[in-house]
Symmetry: C2
Subunit: 454 residues, 2 copies
C-alpha cells in the first residue's frame, strides 16, 4: 500500500476562496439564453424579475476566470467542507485492479449531496438583495433539502414544488425539508395557473421536473420579494459547484497524483461541471490532458442520443430557451426509472464542451448501476445515491479494463451523495424486480420534434 | 472568532492504535456477570458457547489499561475515521452563549452512528475464530446496520433479529441491512423456541429489545459456527468505543482546549462509555477533573429512577445476570416513546461510575429533545439522531446557564449519529402530535419487583 492515506483532507484554510469560471477559458462559449418570444438573446435585466441580480451577472459572466466567494458563504462551507478525497483501496483490492481509484465524496452533509454548494450561494445572494424568500422545484429531493438548509441558516422563506410522485414516494425527504422550515407542495398543484392547467389537461398526472419548474417560476414572479432558484443546468450553478473540482485537484496535487481519467454522473450537469471545471480549464489552456467521461442513464440519454438545439427548460415554457443537448422538454423517463438524473436537457456549458469533444459520454442501464452501487456499499462502506452510482459503474468498468491491460491509471470520480432516501429503489434491486428501459429512436425523435425551431 | 477551526481533524496516523480500558483504572470494578442458575460469577469458559473467545477475554479483563487494535480493524477504521471534532460556532452564536461548545460527530458513515466502532471489532474476532457468522438483535436499526456493514466487509454471515415494531415502521433500515447482505427477521419470530413462546403468550406483540436478544442468543447457540454479538451494555463494547473519547481528547489537546463538562446520551451506555473513558481515566488517576452528565429519556430513566441490582439482560432470561442500574427486564417504554435509548438497564461500567458519583445523570422529555434537535439541525446543518439529541438538549441547557452566569465553559458532547431513518418521529414533532410520557413510581416499582433476588 502506498503512502497516500485513505482520505485526503485539506485543511480549513485550503477551502477555495474563489470559484473558478470555466467559461472564461472556453474558446467556444456556451450559447446564450434566448427569449422565447423574440428569439433574441436574453438581456441581463430581462432575467431580474425571475432570478436574483447578482446571480444573473454570474450567469452572463463569460470573462472572469475567478470570482470571490463571499465570506459568509465561506463560513457556511466550513460547516461541511472540505469534503474528503478518498483513495478507494478496498474497491481496488476487491476488483484486483492495478488502477488507482479516487473519489471526491460530497455526501457528508444532511442534504446528502453536493447540492448544498450552490444552495447556500443562491440563498446568500437572495438575502443580500433583501428578498423575503425563494422558490424552487425538486425531484428526488436533494436540491430541495439543500435549499431548505441554506434558507433556514439565513432566515429566508423557502417554497419547494416537489414532483408529485416523489412527494408521495419519499415522505421522509419531504419531512427533512419541513424540519428545516420549508413549505413543500406536490407538483402539479392547484396553487398556480400552470399547475391547475396541467392538472386539467392531464388528470391524475404524477408530475415532472419541467412542470415543477414552471410552477416555481410562477410562484416567484407572482409574490412580492421572491425569486426563483435552480439547482442545476445553469452556468451559475456550475460556477458554485467548481469548489468540488478545485478541492479535488488541490488534494490530488497535495499527494502528488495526476488523474488520467475523470468520471462524473450527469443529469443537469451540476456535479459533473463542478468536478471537471478546473481540469477542463487546464486542458483549454494547454497545460494538461485528461480523459473525461460523463455518465448518464440509458433511460434519459440527453448527451448520447439527444440533439444539440435550443429547447424549453420547463414544461410550462415560461423560462428562457437554452441551447443544450436535449431529448425535448416533453421527454419523461419511463416509470420504471428509479435512478435519478431525469432532466431532459444538459447544462449549456457541458453541452458545449461535449460538442467540442473535450469530454465524452456514456450511458448505462439502471440494473448495472445498482449492481455497482451494492458492490461499492459493501467494500467501501458508503451507501451511494443512485445518481452517484452511475459514475461508480463506469469507474469500475474502467478499472477492470486496467486489470486486463495492466495499466496503473489514476481514476477520479465524483461520489455526489448518499442513498439513504432511495431505499425503495434499492429494495427493487434487492428483490430482483428492477428492470431496464431504453427509449426507442422513434420515441426520442417524436419528443425532439416538439423543440422550438431556430 | 478564535483560531480553532470549525472541524478539528486528526491525521490518519493519529487514529488510536490501542483501545483504552477504563476498568483498569477503576478502584471499584464493575460487578461480574453472574450465572442465573447458580448465582455464582460466570467463568470465562462458560461464556464461550455464546460469545467469541477473544471478546470474552476482553469482557473479563479488568487489568490491562491498553489493548492493541488489530491492524485489520485499524484499516477498517481508516475508511470512516478519524471522525471530526466540531466547534459549534453557529450554535454558540444562535444561543448567544459565552460557552464554547464542541461535539464529536460519529455519524459520517453509512451505519449513521458510532456503532460501527464495535461492530467491526466483534466481526473481526468472530472471523479470526473461524466462525461462519454472527447473530444479533437491533431496535432502531443502527447496530444492525453497523454489524451488517462489518460482516459484508469481512465475508461473514449476519443474522439480525429486529424488534417487530421497528421492522414494520422502518422498512428502509431493514433494506440497508439487506443491501449489505444480512438476513433480517422481525422479532418475536416463529424461528426460535423463545420467539414462538413469546408469540403464544402475547399474541400480536410488537416485540422488545430484550426479546430480540433472547432470540438472537438462541439462534447463535443452535447453529454450528455461530456466536452472538451485542452492540451496547457489555464491557467489551465500551472498550471498543473508547476510540471516540481517545480521538476527542487528542483533538482537544491539539487545539489546547480542556473540556469542563462532557455530555453524552445513554441507553445501554456504549457511546457515553466510549466518549468519557479517557477523561474518566484521568479523574480516576487524579490527573484532571470533569463534570460528566449522562442524559437519558424521561420515559426510560434507568440511572435516575432505577435500582442498582442484578437483573436479567433479556426477556427470555437466557443471558447471564448483570449488576446494573435497571428498571427491570420487563420494562418497556410507553408506545409514544420515539426517541431511542429504550434498554431497561445500563452498562455495568457506567452503573458503577455513576454509583461512585464520578458521573451524574439527567433525564429529559422527548418533545424537549426534538425541539433541541430541530434547532441544532437548522443552525449546525446536521440532522441529528433522536438518541444524540438527548445530549444536544442538555448541552444547550448548560450553554444557556453559561449565558446567565457569563461563564466561558468548554462543553463537549457526543453527537452519536444522524436521524435520516427517524423521520417518522420528526414528522410527529413537526405535526405537533408528539407527546411525553413519564412512568409513575408504581410502574417502575412493579417492574423492579421482577428482578432476581441476590
Amino acid at each position: 500500500m502506498s503512502d497516500i492515506p485513505y482520505k485526503v483532507y485539506l485543511s480549513e484554510k485550503e477551502i477555495p476562496t474563489q470559484w473558478y469560471n470555466v467559461r472564461a477559458d472556453m474558446k467556444n462559449k456556451p450559447a446564450p439564453l434566448v427569449n422565447p418570444g423574440t428569439g433574441e438573446p436574453m438581456k441581463l435585466e430581462e432575467l431580474f424579475p425571475v432570478f436574483c441580480e447578482e446571480l444573473c451577472r454570474q450567469e452572463f459572466d463569460n470573462e472572469n476566470p475567478y470570482i470571490d466567494i463571499p465570506q459568509e458563504i465561506q463560513d457556511f462551507y466550513k460547516m461541511y467542507r472540505p469534503s474528503p478525497l478518498v483513495r478507494a483501496y478496498c474497491l481496488e483490492k476487491a476488483l484486483g485492479t492495478p488502477a488507482h481509484i479516487y473519489y471526491k465524496f460530497e455526501g457528508n452533509n444532511t442534504s446528502g449531496s453536493h447540492k448544498l454548494n450552490s444552495a447556500i450561494a443562491q440563498a446568500y445572494y437572495a438575502k443580500k438583495q433583501g428578498l423575503k424568500g425563494v422558490t424552487t422545484e425538486t425531484g428526488a429531493g436533494q436540491w430541495g433539502t439543500a435549499l431548505s438548509m441554506a434558507c433556514a441558516y439565513l432566515g429566508l422563506d423557502c417554497q419547494v414544488y416537489m414532483v408529485k410522485v416523489s412527494y408521495e414516494q419519499k415522505p421522509f425527504r419531504r419531512e427533512v425539508m419541513r424540519t428545516y422550515g420549508a413549505k413543500v407542495t406536490p407538483s402539479p398543484s392547484m396553487e398556480t395557473n400552470i399547475g391547475r392547467a396541467i392538472n386539467e389537461q392531464y388528470p391524475g398526472t404524477t408530475g415532472s421536473l419541467g412542470c415543477a419548474i414552471s410552477e416555481a417560476v410562477e410562484a416567484a414572479t407572482s409574490q412580492e420579494g421572491y425569486r426563483y432558484v435552480l439547482g442545476s443546468v445553469l452556468n451559475q450553478v456550475l460556477l458554485h459547484q467548481s469548489v468540488i473540482g478545485l478541492e479535488a485537484k488541490a488534494a490530488l496535487d497535495k499527494v502528488g497524483v495526476k488523474a488520467d481519467m475523470i468520471i462524473g454522473c450527469a443529469g443537469g450537469g451540476s456535479n459533473l461541471g463542478g468536478l471537471i471545471s478546473p481540469f477542463v480549464g487546464q486542458m483549454l489552456r494547454g497545460e494538461a490532458d485528461y480523459e473525461i467521461i460523463a455518465v448518464e442513464p440509458a433511460s434519459c440519454p440527453s448527451l448520447t442520443r439527444g440533439s444539440y438545439v435550443y429547447d424549453f427548460c420547463d414544461t410550462g415554457k415560461v423560462c428562457p430557451l437554452a441551447k443544450m443537448y436535449t431529448l425535448g422538454s416533453g421527454y419523461i423517463p419511463a416509470p420504471n426509472h428509479a435512478g435519478g438524473l431525469r432532466y431532459h436537457g444538459m447544462s449549456p456549458v457541458i453541452s458545449q464542451l461535449y460538442d467540442d469533444k473535450l469530454i465524452s459520454a456514456r450511458s448505462v442501464k439502471q440494473t448495472e448501476v445498482f449492481e455497482a452501487a451494492e458492490m461499492f456499499a459493501r467494500v467501501e462502506g458508503i451507501l451511494p445515491a443512485p445518481e452517484s452510482s452511475h459514475a461508480i459503474r463506469v469507474a469500475i468498468d474502467e478499472a477492470l479494463k486496467c486489470k486486463e491491460t495492466g495499466e496503473e491509471k489514476n481514476i477520479l470520480f465524483g461520489l455526489t451523495g448518499t442513498g439513504y432516501f432511495d431505499m425503495v429503489a434499492y429494495q427493487q434491486y434487492n428483490d430482483g424486480t428492477m428492470s431496464d428501459y431504453v427509449p426507442t429512436d422513434e420515441e426520442i425523435a417524436a419528443s425532439l420534434a416538439q423543440c422550438p425551431k431556430f
